[in-house]
């Protein structure tokens, strides 16, 4: 049977071998994305969400190393691929957009130089043709007067425009998969709305699969088809967006939703998750969340099994919440 998923990640493990010990930044993560659909990968800092994204494109630096699992891109295992093969895919069929556009763009080269280089790295076309395509891509992401702006340097753009340039570079080759790591976090509300709306249309029109990595549940609630929540290197809950937001099963997901200020009555204290994210070097046994969890019981020291609700909703918890009883944290 042909796999209709553009990307299928199976039991991915990326560990960091530091002097202080082994940090299991990604510890058995599995998910899949179909063409034209959006998966939101949500987690707090240190949860392993960015390392997951970097693992897919093969950009994990030492002391980090992928130690297990498979990353199937149209059935081809990227972990086993040679560096040359990865270079051929990266920026061509798989694109990445990072939080800080200044990390992507070279500050001393004109936008044109950088975009033409990106085109010619993967396709044997003339410079004039490459320039035309670059111009096209800039137009698609809503940059006014693209042919003039091609001659500009990155510092001549505002933050929102720079991020658009990065998105344009990602779109140059109509990639089948885009990995976006917090691309709107540094942007203002009105600019974020512009970028979100453009990404929505672009993915729908081109059938691009999108992995959107963020700490902000509200952003993916309006964008993603399904949401996966990561905590301490593991996906603790994964399901369709509606179910995840309306009836989360994992106490951590519930806590994240309750922490969003707009959910509480103004002026009332927010329902907060006590404590802080644990250090990956000294995770508690069993469920990593149990020390902050109000529903934790003695059994939580054992590794929780994956529970399934319906076909698409999975949760890693011994005592999942029951939406029938209101879903509140007991």
């Amino acid at each position: 049977m042909a796999d209709e998923h553009v990307l299928r990640v199976e039991n991915l493990q990326t560990h960091f071998f530091t002097r202080a010990g082994v940090a299991r930044a990604v510890d058995g993560v599995s998910f899949a994305i179909r063409a034209g659909s959006v998966l939101g990968l949500v987690g707090e800092s240190g949860s392993g969400k960015s390392v997951t994204g970097n693992s897919i494109v093969g950009l994990v630096d030492p002391p980090g190393r992928i130690v297990g699992g498979r990353i199937l891109f149209h059935g081809e295992d990227l972990i086993k691929s040679s560096p040359a093969r990865m270079r051929a895919l990266r920026g061509f069929r798989i694109a990445m957009i990072l939080q800080d556009p200044m990390m992507t763009l070279n500050p001393v080269l004109r936008i044109e130089t950088q975009m033409v280089e990106a085109v010619q790295a993967h396709e044997n076309v003339s410079s004039a043709e490459a320039r035309r395509r670059a111009c096209d891509a800039l137009g698609r992401v809503g940059i006014p007067k693209p042919s003039e702006r091609l001659d500009a340097f990155p510092h001549e753009f505002s933050g929102g425009m720079r991020q658009r340039v990065c998105i344009a570079i990602a779109l140059l080759h109509n990639p089948e998969l885009i990995i976006a790591d917090e691309p709107t976090t540094a942007l203002d509300v009105t600019i974020q709305a512009q970028i979100l709306s453009e990404m929505q249309t672009l993915c729908a029109d081109n059938g691009t699969a999108l992995l959107w990595i963020t700490h902000d549940l509200a952003v993916v609630a309006g964008l993603a088809d399904s949401i996966a929540v990561m905590y301490a290197g593991k996906i603790v809950e994964h399901g369709p967006t509606d179910q995840m937001i309306d009836s989360p099963r994992h106490p951590y997901t519930r806590g994240l939703i309750d922490s969003v200020p707009s959910r509480a009555a103004p002026g009332d204290p927010l329902r907060q998750i006590p404590g802080m994210t644990p250090s990956l070097l000294s995770l508690p046994d069993g469920c990593a969340f149990r020390l902050r969890c109000s529903r934790a019981i003695a059994d939580c020291v054992r590794e929780p099994a994956v529970g399934q609700f319906g076909t698409a909703h999975m949760v890693r918890c011994i005592r999942p919440l029951d939406p029938a009883t209101g879903g509140g944290v007991a």
Partner: protein
């Protein structure tokens, strides 16, 4: 929410701030030799801002980056002087207070910054950081300083046993608590919080917001809470002011502002906030970007992006008018 309406504790009257590049020696020489006159290139960060914060109130100040909200916070906190206009503290101009009164007023207004790490001295132990100002200003006697610091640590949810550690040994949320304890140490009446929770994770952000609300009750604090995050501001504030490119465009009680926003910019902001309850949200974004404050548009600063703009908007600066009880807005089309 309880109505808390005291007299104005801090009031900005026509506050403007211009950051100008001073002509360097080469420029002066050029002017002397060639008689060329280079126009001062300056940024008008604030343009005649009137805003008052009443005693006991929590005023949220919202705007996008570059709109001047942080500059305003710094001027209110006395870190920057205004180019024009005045900051009144309890009805008196801050610059006309005598030395001891001015010192009292400055201590009464404290600031909490976004980046707690760069506002904490990395070489000092956090206990010293928190206690230093209180000791210097003789708010507590040296003998009881230790107890005082321990108390403050407890108040903000830090473990007093950690007071001999250094800032780098703390997480982001804890560092923000240290910054809050340091501000509280001089017994302020008024806190200016500049994006105080923006750099924190959602779950930690909720903890710090709860701490602000708790401290407000305990110490009868008044807040100017500056943020780009409408959700946070809606949750905390009694009243909200919206700023765009150096001008206040709307102020109203929080409920009123969110239920019936008046200014087209406020309306756009509220519509575009990603919400948990919006699925497959169709973002209908505002066109364009925040214009450069180096070269602000004529008339109403918002007119190039405004869906409702008319010809007059290009020429006239809209007056700040009362549109309902306690609700003010600066849009020509209201007239």
């Amino acid at each position: 929410m309880k109505a808390r309406q005291g007299a104005a504790i801090v009031e900005a009257r026509g506050v403007s701030k211009r950051f100008a590049k001073t002509t360097d020696i080469a420029g002066k020489a050029a002017r002397y030799i060639f008689g060329t006159h280079t126009a001062d290139q300056g940024v008008q960060a604030l343009d005649r801002v009137d805003l008052s914060v009443n005693e006991g109130e929590l005023l949220g100040l919202v705007g996008e980056s570059g709109c001047g909200k942080s500059t305003f916070g710094r001027i209110v906190a006395g870190i920057l002087p205004p180019s024009e206009g005045a900051i009144m503290y309890r009805g008196r101009d801050m610059t006309e207070l005598d030395r001891s009164e001015a010192k009292k007023a400055k201590l009464a207004i404290q600031m909490i910054f976004q980046d707690a790490f760069s506002s904490l001295n990395p070489r000092m132990r956090v206990g010293e950081i928190v206690g230093e100002a209180a000791a210097y200003h003789q708010i507590v006697q040296r003998e009881v300083l230790d107890d005082y610091v321990v108390q403050l640590f407890r108040r903000v949810g830090l473990d007093p046993a950690d007071k001999d550690r250094y800032p780098h040994q703390f997480s982001g949320g804890q560092r923000q608590r240290i910054g809050i304890a340091r501000a509280l140490a001089v017994k302020p009446e008024f806190l200016v919080c500049d994006e105080a929770v923006s750099a924190l994770d959602v779950s930690i952000q909720a903890q710090i917001l709860n701490l602000f609300l708790k401290l407000r009750e305990e110490f009868q604090l008044t807040y100017l809470f500056i943020s780009h995050d409408l959700g946070v501001v809606r949750h905390l504030s009694d009243r909200v002011a919206i700023m765009y490119l150096g001008r206040i465009v709307e102020t109203a009680a929080t409920d009123q502002l969110f239920v019936s926003p008046h200014h087209p910019y406020t309306q756009a902001l509220i519509e575009q906030v990603p919400r948990l309850d919006a699925r497959r949200q169709a973002f209908a974004p505002l066109k364009g970007e925040l214009p450069s404050p180096l070269d602000p548009p004529t008339g109403c600063h918002f007119h190039p992006r405004c869906p409702l703009a008319i010809e007059r908007c290009k020429r006239e600066v809209p007056p700040f008018r009362k549109v309902a009880q306690g609700h003010w807005s600066a849009c020509i089309r209201d007239g």
